[in-house]
Symmetry: C2
Subunit: 318 residues, 2 copies
Amino acid sequence: MYILGFDIGGTKTMVGVADESGTVLAMRRFETKSELGPKQALDRMKKAAREVVREAGVGVDVIGIGCGGPLDRKSGTLYTVPNLPGWEGICLTRELGEDFGVPAYLENDANAAAMGEHLFGAGKGIDDFVFMIVGTGIGGGIIANGRIYRGFGENAGEIGHHKIMSEGPPCPCGDRGCLEALASGTSIARIARERLAEKPETVIMQWVSSPEELTAELVARAASQGDPFASSVWQECMHNLGIGIANVVNILNPRLVILGGGVTKAGSLLFEPVRRVVRERAMPALAADVEVVPAKNGDLVGLMGAFAVAIDNVLGRA
Amino acid sequence: MYILGFDIGGTKTMVGVADESGTVLAMRRFETKSELGPKQALDRMKKAAREVVREAGVGVDVIGIGCGGPLDRKSGTLYTVPNLPGWEGICLTRELGEDFGVPAYLENDANAAAMGEHLFGAGKGIDDFVFMIVGTGIGGGIIANGRIYRGFGENAGEIGHHKIMSEGPPCPCGDRGCLEALASGTSIARIARERLAEKPETVIMQWVSSPEELTAELVARAASQGDPFASSVWQECMHNLGIGIANVVNILNPRLVILGGGVTKAGSLLFEPVRRVVRERAMPALAADVEVVPAKNGDLVGLMGAFAVAIDNVLGRA
């Protein structure tokens, strides 16, 4: 079985061809350019798809698509997706499936990534784990008893929007005090920017010409060099990320919490404090059961997820 | 099929006989007297069991037991249970099963209660819901895809110990800022007691001779009479309970959150503010999916749970 996978993000899209074992035969990564509108952006995706299929030199049997939600998985249609303005009502499974005449399946990106880690990554052979993507936002996918858990309305896993500080800072979701508002890449940059108003001494200001250019990556880099300002912001955010993970551990008692997304590129600068907080703040029996590990699919976490979505729908095993 | 059920709490125990439909044929409620030590307390339970079986006038086919954890479900044995000091290592399934020569099954009380609500209560026919007991502590049980979800180490559902105020007040679990530390019956009484140090005017002080006698029930009663001090404490605790439930809704997207336990006897004084907070603070799509409802098994929530545990083990359907 050969799978064509699409990982559609607000900024970047990946398209690739893999076999059933997850071996990637060909792939492309390009700008989504969602601002061109769905018609033109989809045309770019279809063109890239034709190219990778040609390059792979195989026939495609099934298509898997991971995309930011909210979306209606069963009909393959997007609702109002914050990262894809103007795409509401687009039926991705039809649009991307028709050129190839094979079945296409859609899943929200965090669930897809969790399924990809389950089939091909750090969660292989593990029946109970939580996947979290820590990047622009914080998303989650729950594998329970060996299957993705979608909940009643298929929106389970909004781990980024559980509140760890009920009257905390505003969150893009419209509420406040959510984990995402305290520990996502965007939030790390926002918190650092706010603190710069106090004019601290920090190497960061030698790297950017204005606070608007500040990113979580720069905060991490400065923290890793021992910059006190950056270290303080970073540690505070990692503490909050650890609290959020400890909460998920207490509620779901997973074997693993797998972390993917841009912020996790900080490596041990992220995993060490987060693991310490989970060990200290989750209940001892549950803390002893869990390991917090990086996603094995790395930068391909979304694309591998798209392949897994197809495999799950055809063979029922992600 | 006739079931003998035991609901063993730190203070009270219930024992009863029911048929497969959950119709109770006979039951007793009595003090656990765990301080007598397991031998004597278990003898009292066995005596009560023989009485209810005689009264029911049927033969018992299976035994279900719900008990505060942590415990090892598979061997039927208690670990160190805070509410049953000195009971560590007691094999409840053997102790309570041997007199009747039928299989006995053990489950932690919150999971058992969730299973009871699933088979006989507010969760009948509902595949995805969360049960929470709000009493001395706050416990939880998760029904996912129509089955109890136990997680990797069988300790999932510790909803009372997720942190909604990471540096909040100390919790009996040893951590701080847990939902239980902010909204359990014990915490409602504790918070009221702390605030009494500020010598507010409140009707409560006419009801008790010392702050130590203060209970969540008295706070609720005074709040329902419009006492400003009690109302302020009560509303704050209900706000926090609502935040905790909104978090669970965002993580699990349940169709129902079913609330049982002593504090829920406050009725609409509890459900109205909690439902409002869930509506305002859970993500709109997930808030729209969920209803927050009282446990239908009421005071029998634990005993009906014990029956469900037996039925689930024999017939695989709780």
